[in-house]
């Protein structure tokens, strides 16, 4: 079966290109609550608890927690080469922009379709923030 590819327009916040397997979180994310060496989410009550963010294209609603810890959290992941390859969010705020800027991770929002309906964990996603295009290849059923 031929895999289905969907291209969607998005809004660039931090430029660059990143591709990888999608990891979808319906809950906000605090990067400080991951293991800095591996990228594994250690926030026990989180829906992604135990999952690994490393090299994924992370789809989530927004960031959370104080600016200092959030920025330091993503920076540490990036320093250890276990940051996500790109970030697709719904609601962006100053701290998340600063975090992605410092960690050099592409960040986009305003997909032309609801990202939570269009992208599922396991899909292969290319984020071309420079061109403002997200390409989704659906996981084979």
């Amino acid at each position: 079966m031929k895999s289905l590819e969907i291209a969607l327009k998005c809004h660039r916040i931090i430029g660059g290109y990143g591709e990888g397997e999608a990891l979808v979180s319906h809950e906000p994310i605090c990067f400080y609550l991951t293991e800095p060496e591996t990228g594994i989410v250690r926030e026990r009550s989180h829906e992604l608890a135990g999952k690994n963010l490393a090299n994924k294209v992370l789809v989530f609603p927004s960031g959370k927690a104080s600016s200092v810890v959030q920025i330091d959290g993503l920076f540490k992941l990036a320093s250890n080469n276990v940051a996500p390859k790109a970030l697709i969010v719904k609601d962006v705020e100053t701290v998340l922009v600063v975090s992605a800027f410092i960690a050099k991770v592409p960040l986009v929002d305003r997909l032309e379709r609801d990202p939570f309906e269009t992208i599922h964990t396991g899909d292969f996603v290319k984020v071309d923030a420079e061109k403002g295009i997200v390409t989704i290849t659906k996981r084979k059923p």
Binding site: I14, S66, S67, V68, I71, F75
Partner: protein, 404 residues
């Protein structure tokens, strides 16, 4: 939509003013794009909530190495007094000192005001009414917006520093009048006797509202500086309150109608003595024997240092209990001149500058029981158990070595 940029801004982005300035503007443009800001607007000053964490170090060194220099006065948050703490505690890892030293050196290289204080609006970097500024530090943001009536967004340390370097900020959020309207009504029926009651009020309001601009009514006595500082700091422990109104007492509105720009909020909460007592109970993790007292989160003002000296005059802190007062370098100069530091040290206490309660210098207290008048200090707890109480009780606890 891309933000409008002036010719000079285009040249900065092209690197003509050096890499540090370029990076600073790149960050501000990204934030502007995120919020659909139309343009950058001039700011008069900035406050960078420097922290001595690795992400902070990376960014300030990136700017310093790229020859960036602050175009407007830009003050800095506390890190820790390296000499004082390493002399006293051999348990602090040397590499922590190295990070702190590099952070402090880099802020010096970019020409920041080395205030190392979280209350810079008291002395080192004071905004004026109506000024646009970029103040990070969750307790400074609401103070500047509400008490002074300058305009700032809730900045991260790095976005505030970048704004200080460029002398501009993207125009969005609380820099625009329409976005400064009250969102929640808070009926204060509780009796507010002192600073600690404002601490509890702030904590409770922050927790109930989470994110928004509360309008406080029912307060008949004018709050003083320290009471307002505490409200600002504690409402940002469980919440994110970047602005609030107490009509008549904060500067931007004399009435509820004015504070809410004619659109009176429907969300409404009431605070009585009961809620404040409950908030206080919730903050305690233990009682009994204490190992140390920590005051000055946020940094104590000169007046508060004087109050500590008055309470400790002629007394002795119990053997085995340490007693800390964190304040700004400028306040300490005057506290020394007025003899307060001498009184506190004679009683066995420390008065330290440049130091935040959330820094690695406190590692010796990791497994200890601390008493503080600050829920913020208890929240960032670098120690095991916390008792939160008013200043007089903290001093008594230090003398007795316990608090029941």
């Amino acid at each position: 939509m891309k933000m409008y940029l002036t010719k000079e801004e285009e040249r900065i982005l092209a690197g003509e003013f050096g890499e540090g300035t370029q990076k600073a503007l790149e960050l501000l443009v990204a934030i502007g794009d995120a919020y659909d800001a139309e343009k950058m607007i001039p700011i008069n000053r900035a406050h960078a909530a420097s922290s001595g964490q690795e992400g902070d170090l990376y960014f300030v060194e990136l700017l310093a190495d790229g020859d960036a220099h602050c175009r407007v006065p830009t003050s800095t948050n506390p890190v820790y007094d390296i000499e004082y703490f390493h002399r006293l505690f051999t348990s602090i890892p040397e590499d922590e000192a190295e990070v702190a030293r590099r952070v402090m050196e880099a802020y010096k290289r970019v020409g920041a005001i080395l205030s190392w204080s979280c209350i810079p609006y008291m002395a080192e970097n004071i905004p004026l009414f109506g000024e646009n500024v970029a103040f990070s530090e969750s307790s400074a943001t609401p103070y500047v917006n509400s008490v002074i009536g300058a305009r700032t967004n809730r900045e991260a340390a790095q976005s505030a520093l970048a704004a200080g370097i460029i002398g501009k900020a993207p125009e969005y959020g609380l820099l625009i009048r329409e976005n400064r309207k009250g969102t929640h009504l808070v009926d204060v029926e509780a009796t507010l006797k002192d600073e600690f009651d404002y601490t509890l009020l702030g904590y409770y309001v922050g927790k109930q509202i989470g994110y928004g601009i509360p309008v406080l009514t029912g307060i008949s006595k004018r709050p003083n500086t320290e009471e307002l500082i505490n409200f600002c700091a504690m409402s940002n422990v469980p919440g994110a309150i970047s602005m609030f109104y107490i009509p008549r007492f904060t500067v931007e509105a004399a009435t509820i109608e004015e504070a809410s720009q004619g659109d009176i909020p429907k969300d409404r909460i009431t605070v009585t003595d009961y809620e404040l007592r409950q908030a206080c109970d919730e903050l305690q993790t233990t009682s009994g024997k204490i190992d140390f007292v920590m005051l000055g989160c946020p940094h104590y003002t000169l007046k508060q240092v004087e109050e500590v000296a008055r309470l400790l005059d002629g007394k002795k802190i119990k053997d085995g209990v340490s007693f800390w007062v964190c304040t700004s370098a400028t306040a300490k100069v005057l506290a020394e001149r007025n003899g307060y530091v001498n009184v506190i040290e004679r009683a066995g206490g420390h008065v330290v500058v440049d130091t935040c309660i959330d820094e690695p210098c406190w590692i010796a207290y990791k497994n200890k029981v601390g008493m503080t008048d600050s829920p913020k200090c208890a929240y960032y707890r670098r120690f095991k158990e916390a008792i939160v109480a008013r200043l007089q009780d903290c001093v008594e606890g230090a003398i007795e070595g316990k608090w029941e």
